[in-house]
C-alpha cells in the first residue's frame, strides 16, 4: 500500500512553491523503499478520505475564503484530522487552519477551519524575509528551522495548541513564537518550501503519519544549504 500525500487545492493554496513540500515528503519515503504518491486535489473534487498527509500552502485573501468554504463543505479534512492524519498548513494554509483570520483592507473577520486553536489579525507591518527558528522539543543540529516568510497576518496561539518553534531571526507569529501544533495538525509561516530546507521536520511529519520511526536519510546538499542559510543570518 502506498502512502498518500494530498496537495489540497494547489491552484488556490500553492503560490509559493508549496507543491515542493509534497515532492519532498514523497521522495523521502521512496528513497527508503516506501511507496508514496502525491495527489493534487482541486476545489470541486472531493478530498480522499484515506490519505496520511494533507498539505495546505500559501494563497491570497480571496483564495483563503474560497478554500475555507470548500473544505468545510467537503468535510474530509476535518475527519482526517480527527483520525490522526497529518495536516500541515503553511502561511495562508496555516492561517485558515485556525479559528479566525481577517481579509481585505477593512480586516473583515472570517471563520477558519478550527483545526488549530489560533487567531490571525493584520500585523503592524508585513513580515518578508529569511526566517530562522529553533524547534521546540528538538536538540542539536536539527533544531534549526530555516525558511522564507512573507505574510501580513500575525497569529496568536491559544491554550489548545503549542507553538512549533521560537523565532531567532524574523517574525513568525509576531510574539517571538512561530507556528502551532495541535495533535497531528501543524501550522507554520516559513515556506521556501519549508520541508526542503528542514528534513528533520519532514521526517517528523512522516513518522507521525506512518506511526513508525524512519531510517536516517543523509542528503549532503541539504546540509550545505542549511549551513549556508544559517550563516547568511549570522548564526
Amino acid at each position: 500500500m502506498s502512502v498518500r500525500i494530498v496537495l489540497v487545492y494547489q491552484s488556490l493554496l500553492g503560490i509559493y512553491g508549496d507543491r515542493g513540500n509534497g515532492t519532498v515528503l514523497a521522495e523521502r519515503l521512496t528513497r527508503r523503499g516506501i511507496d508514496a504518491e502525491v495527489l493534487v486535489v482541486e476545489p470541486g473534487t472531493e478530498l480522499p478520505e484515506d490519505a496520511q498527509v494533507y498539505l495546505l500552502g500559501g494563497g491570497e485573501d480571496g483564495a483563503q475564503t474560497t478554500a475555507v468554504r470548500e473544505l468545510t463543505k467537503d468535510g474530509a479534512l476535518h475527519r482526517a484530522a480527527e483520525r490522526g492524519a497529518v495536516v500541515f498548513g503553511v502561511c495562508a494554509g496555516y492561517q485558515i487552519l485556525g479559528n479566525t483570520f481577517t481579509v481585505g483592507d477593512r480586516q473583515q473577520e472570517m471563520p477558519g477551519l478550527g483545526l488549530l486553536d489560533v487567531d490571525t489579525r493584520r500585523g503592524p507591518e508585513r513580515a518578508v524575509g529569511e526566517i530562522l527558528t529553533t524547534w521546540r522539543g528538538r536538540s542539536g543540529e536539527e533544531q534549526w528551522i530555516t525558511g522564507f516568510e512573507n505574510h501580513g497576518g500575525f497569529t496568536t496561539p491559544g491554550p489548545g495548541c503549542i507553538p512549533l518553534a521560537d523565532v531567532v531571526v524574523g517574525v513568525g507569529n509576531g510574539d517571538g513564537t512561530e507556528g502551532a501544533v495541535q495533535g497531528s495538525v501543524f501550522g507554520t509561516y516559513p515556506h521556501g518550501p519549508v520541508l526542503a530546507r528542514n528534513p528533520a521536520l519532514a521526517d517528523h511529519l512522516l513518522e507521525i503519519a506512518l506511526g513508525t520511526p524512519l531510517d536516517p536519510l543523509p542528503m549532503p546538499e541539504v546540509d550545505r544549504l542549511r549551513a549556508e542559510r544559517r550563516k547568511a543570518l549570522g548564526h
Partner: protein
Amino acid sequence: MVPMSVDTRGQLVRASGPGRARLALAQTAGRLAAFASRVSGRGSGASIRGMVMMRLDPGALGKLLGGRRVLAVSGTNGKTTTTHFLAAAIRAGLGPGAGRVVSNADGANLHHGIASALGEQPRADVAVLEVDERVVADVLRLGRPEVLVLLNFSRDQLDRHHEIKALARSWRDALAQMGADGPVVVANAEEPLVVWAARPAREVIWVDTQSTWSQDAALCPECGSLLTRTDPEQAGDSVIPGHWECTGCDLAEPPAQVRVSGDRIIDRQGRELPTDLQVPGKFNIGNAACALAAAEVFGVDSVTALSGMRTVTAPAGRFSVTTIAGTPARLMLSKNPAGWAESLPLATTDPLVLAIDAVAADGKDLSWLWDVEFEQLRGRTVVCTGPRAADLAVRLSYAGVAHEVIHDLSAAFRSVAGKVDGPVDVVSTYTPFQRLLDLGGVPRTTKPTALPDVGAEGGAR
C-alpha cells in the same frame, strides 16, 4: 516601401518657453551623470540619466512623451523581446523612415529608463516602449499611447509585489478612466487577469497565444468564483483551442482575432503566416503574434511586420551566443516560474549551466524553484552556479537530476569547456545574467531602479 499612411500626430517634442529650458537643462545634467556612470563601469547609465533628468524636471517624462506616437508593451514575461519585435515591425513599415523610431531597447522600463531613452532621441516621433507593469497607468496618462500590448500576468518577485491582482486593477482603472481617449489594447486572451484588466478599453484585439502556463489564475478576478479550464486538444492535424470561463459570472476567454497555430500566426485577415523567427521558443511566437497585432493597429501590414521581426536576434542580450571563460555559451534569462517553464525546454545541451541568485532584482524568495519542473532534466548533468546554487542543488537532488555546485560563474564555465559541441545552454536569473553579459562582452541591460511596493493591500498572506 511604406504600405500605410503614417501620420504624425502633433509635433515633435516641443515643450515651449521656460518648460523647454528646464527640460534641456535636465537632459544635459542627465547625460553627464550617465557618462560618469559608464566610465565608472556601473552599467549603461540609462537609468541614472533618467533619474537625474527627472529630479531636475519632474515633468520630464510627460514632456518627452508629448507629441510622439506611442506604442507600449507590458506584462510579466516577454516584454523586452516583444518590444524588440514591435520596434522592428514598425521600422520595417516605415522603410526609409525607420530612424523615426525610438525604443528603450535595453530593457530599462521604469520612469527613469523610459525618460532616458526618449531624451536621447528628441526627433524620433514614434516611441515603442517596454513598460514595467507598475508604470503602465502613468504611461497611459502621460503618453496617451495609440496601442498598449498586455502580454501576461504571473507571479514574479512575490517578496515585493504581494498581490498580482492589484497590478491588474491599476491597468483596468487607468483604461476605464481614459474611456474613448484610451489606446487600442492588444491582449492575451488566455490570461484571465489580462482579459479582466483589458475589458474596459475602448477597443481590444484579443490574441490566442497558445500559452500553457495556468498556475496563476484559479479565481475569477471579477467575482471571486472558481475558473474552469479546458486544455487545447490535438484533433488530427488541427488543434482545438483551450478555453477558460468563470463559473459565477460572464467573464470568459474572448474569441481571438489573431492566433498562434503551431509555428505560424493567423492574422486578422485570416492569413496563416510562417514566422521563421531567429529568436527561439514557442512563447516567442505568441509574443510575435501580439507585436504583429499591435503593428497592424499602427498601420503596418502583417507580412511587412513579420519581415521586420525576423531581423531580431538577441533582444537585450537574451539568447545571445558568446564566450565565457573560454567556453562558448548561449544565454537565456528567466525571471520567474512561468519564464523558467518556457526557457528550460530550450536548454538542450548536456551538461547545461543554471545560474541562480536571490538579491532584490531576482526576487529574494527562491521558493519558485519548486514550481519549475526540473525533473525534465533527468539523464543530463546540471552545473549549478551563482550565489544561490545550493538552493538549486537541493531542488535538483529531489528531482533526481545529476548536478554539481560551482558557485563562481567563470569556474562553472571552465568546468564545461569542451564537453559540448557548440555553445553550452545557460539559463539564469536576472543578476547573474547581467554578470554573464559582462563576462561574455555583451552590452549590458540596465538594472531596474527601485520603485515603491505595490499591492500592499490585503495580498498574498
